[in-house]
């Protein structure tokens, strides 16, 4: 379409009031995400990954600086307009949600619904069916969310975000708490969306292998600042990760993410 980055942050600062009096600050950060790019966010707990993702999804307002979608400043966009551009899958969700998978995915159509509409339209139903198919979860579409395993539920929430049909998909730790098979399912889905569907994806993860597999670029955050931004082979190299996480890492062959040594 044009050369504007899909998402851009200029001098982004977000001051958070922490627990007690100890506040902390994200940024200042400058960032550009191109159309069809996948950017992976890594960094220690408390580095500000979730806060950055929330700012980039428009769920938190920057204290200073600005965030824009294709040159449109978030401040000029309503929540609904933002939701038509950016879909977000949060890490923390209510323990119990009294909806079926299909109902949850249908709610992804909210930014496209008129308040006077009594039921979703045919277009909405088609988008819901496409999202369920893309995530490969048609088989349990009619089951209540609360009866599903953690992995199946994660696929359902990703499908709900896909039904939003936004240009950008943002995911906060999509594979945390999942067993290996479901980690692989989620990784496979994101890989297909990105490589075959050309989706623009941002994700935060502690799974460095996933970051290396999906990320065209990797942003390492430490204490709210950019520690490194570049190709996976550089940012996820053993010495870089050892400094970032203050833990020993072993280099892996052929440019893959270095591996943490757990042995004492």
């Amino acid at each position: 379409m044009n050369n504007l980055p899909v998402l851009s942050a200029r001098g982004l600062v977000r001051e958070e009031r922490g627990r007690g009096n100890a506040g902390w600050t994200l940024g200042p950060l400058d960032l550009e995400v191109a159309a069809g790019e996948c950017l992976a966010l890594v960094g220690p707990n408390g580095a500000g990954k979730t806060t950055l993702l929330r700012c980039l999804a428009g769920l938190r307002k920057p204290s200073r600086g600005e965030v824009a979608h294709r040159g449109r400043n978030f401040a000029e966009l309503s929540r609904r307009e933002l939701a038509r551009r950016i879909a977000y899958v949060p890490q923390v969700r209510p323990a119990s949600v009294p909806l079926t998978v299909r109902e949850a995915v249908e709610l992804g159509r909210y930014p496209h619904l008129s308040p006077f509409q009594l039921a979703p339209s045919a277009t909405d139903h088609r988008a819901v069916d496409r999202a369920l198919a893309a995530a490969g979860i048609e088989a349990f579409a009619e089951r209540p969310l609360d009866e599903l395993s953690g992995g199946e539920r994660q696929m359902a929430w990703i499908a709900a975000a896909l039904a939003q049909e936004a240009e950008v998909l943002i995911l906060d730790e999509p594979t945390t708490h999942l067993d290996p098979r479901h980690q692989r399912d989620v990784a496979g889905l994101l890989h297909r969306l990105h490589r075959e569907g050309g989706a623009t994806i941002l994700l935060a993860t502690h799974d460095l292998e996933l970051a290396g597999l999906l990320g065209d670029r990797v942003l390492a955050l430490a204490a709210g600042r950019s520690f490194a931004l570049g190709a996976p082979s550089e940012v996820l190299a053993a010495d870089s990760l050892a400094t970032l996480f203050d833990a020993p890492f072993q280099a892996e062959a052929d440019g893959r993410a270095a591996r943490l040594s757990l042995a004492p």
Binding site: L59, R79, V92, V97, L113
Partner: protein, 329 residues
């Protein structure tokens, strides 16, 4: 899975509502026959139109308002135990009304607007206080909310006792009777007064149907789907507080209808607010009208305030919900 389609269940609730509206005025300490009313027997007509029908209609509206407000609070705060009574909203309205009752004697026709204004102010103030405290501390919303409600309830009770202490014996008796929550009215003034406020509350919930459904998935998901959560919260809180303020001004604080009815109706019609909100209006109304029928017949000719009866049922129900609730939120 559910034995009834939600829309059929809603239609059945509508029929129940109509049956109660027509049947309850015939029953009481002195039963009257439908035929006598239709034949135009003057005593039967007077009892039906002037004494019982207004009271039944007021119960139908009041119960509907309580249940609808309870539904709104429960969805908004994602807490099954939230309702006007437990959140202290009814207490705030009662405090406002008691203060107005203390000074309104002799105002005559001006009395209701003054009591109503004061109870609006009380309801909105209590809601703002509870919501403010709960939102200030985000981590444990569920517990904080109820604790804030208890705090407001305790404060308003203490202030109400203080006002009663200052009042003379007659005034005190009136206030105490009124605090028990009752629907002993004659004529249609109160019914006509409550009708628009109840409809306002219902329309506010229906217009926010998609937003409220999304809120079931949590605030963050709702916001990322495009819901302006703070604005939604403000809108619903103001509408429901006005509804409760209007109700408390005429019927006193009636507890636990807003807790029991939405809980039971979710099992019957599911979670879509398009169906659930009108179901609460109809079901809550029918429930309170039947409770009031029981209250005015079990100890006849004595007329037990219906608020005493709902509190007797609701207290144990609250404890039961608390005991069986799985996990948090």
């Amino acid at each position: 899975m559910r034995p009834l389609h939600p829309r059929s269940a809603l239609a059945l609730l509508g029929l129940l509502w109509l049956a109660v509206a027509l049947g309850a005025p015939l029953l009481g300490s002195q039963p009257i026959g439908l035929l006598d009313v239709l034949r135009g027997d003057p005593t039967a007509l007077a009892i039906f139109w002037q004494l019982r029908l207004p009271r039944v209609l007021l119960a139908l509206l009041a119960g509907g308002a309580l249940a609808t407000a309870g539904l709104g609070f429960q969805t908004l705060f994602r807490n099954p135990l939230a309702e006007p009574y437990t959140l202290g909203v009814a207490g705030g309205a009662a405090l406002g009304a008691v203060l107005a009752l203390r000074v309104s004697e002799g105002l005559g026709a001006l009395g209701l607007p003054l009591v109503a204004l004061a109870s609006f102010a009380g309801a909105l103030g209590a809601t703002a206080l509870v919501a403010g405290v709960a939102m200030h501390r985000k981590e444990s919303e569920t517990g904080t909310l109820l604790l804030a409600g208890i705090g407001v309830s305790l404060s308003t009770s203490a202030l109400i006792l203080f006002v009663q202490y200052l009042a003379d014996a007659t005034q005190t008796f009136r206030m105490v009777r009124w605090m028990m929550g009752g629907l002993a009215v004659v004529g249609y003034r109160e019914v006509l007064w409550l009708l628009p406020w109840t409809l306002l509350g219902l329309v506010a919930l229906l217009a926010a149907r998609w937003d409220l459904n999304l809120l079931l998935a949590g605030e963050e998901i709702a916001a990322s789907r495009g819901v302006d959560v703070p604005r939604l919260r403000l809108r619903i809180l103001i509408a429901t507080s006005l509804m409760i303020g209007a109700l408390v001004a005429v019927a006193g604080p009636i507890g636990f209808v807003g807790l029991m009815v939405p809980h039971a109706l979710r099992r019957l019609v599911g979670h879509d607010h398009l169906i659930l909100a009108p179901a609460c209006l109809l079901g809550g109304g029918a429930f309170l009208a039947l409770a009031d029928l029981a209250a005015r017949t079990v100890m006849a000719p004595a007329d037990l305030p219906v608020g005493v009866l709902t509190a007797l049922l609701g207290g144990p129900f609250f404890l039961l919900l608390l005991a069986v609730r799985r996990g948090r939120g």
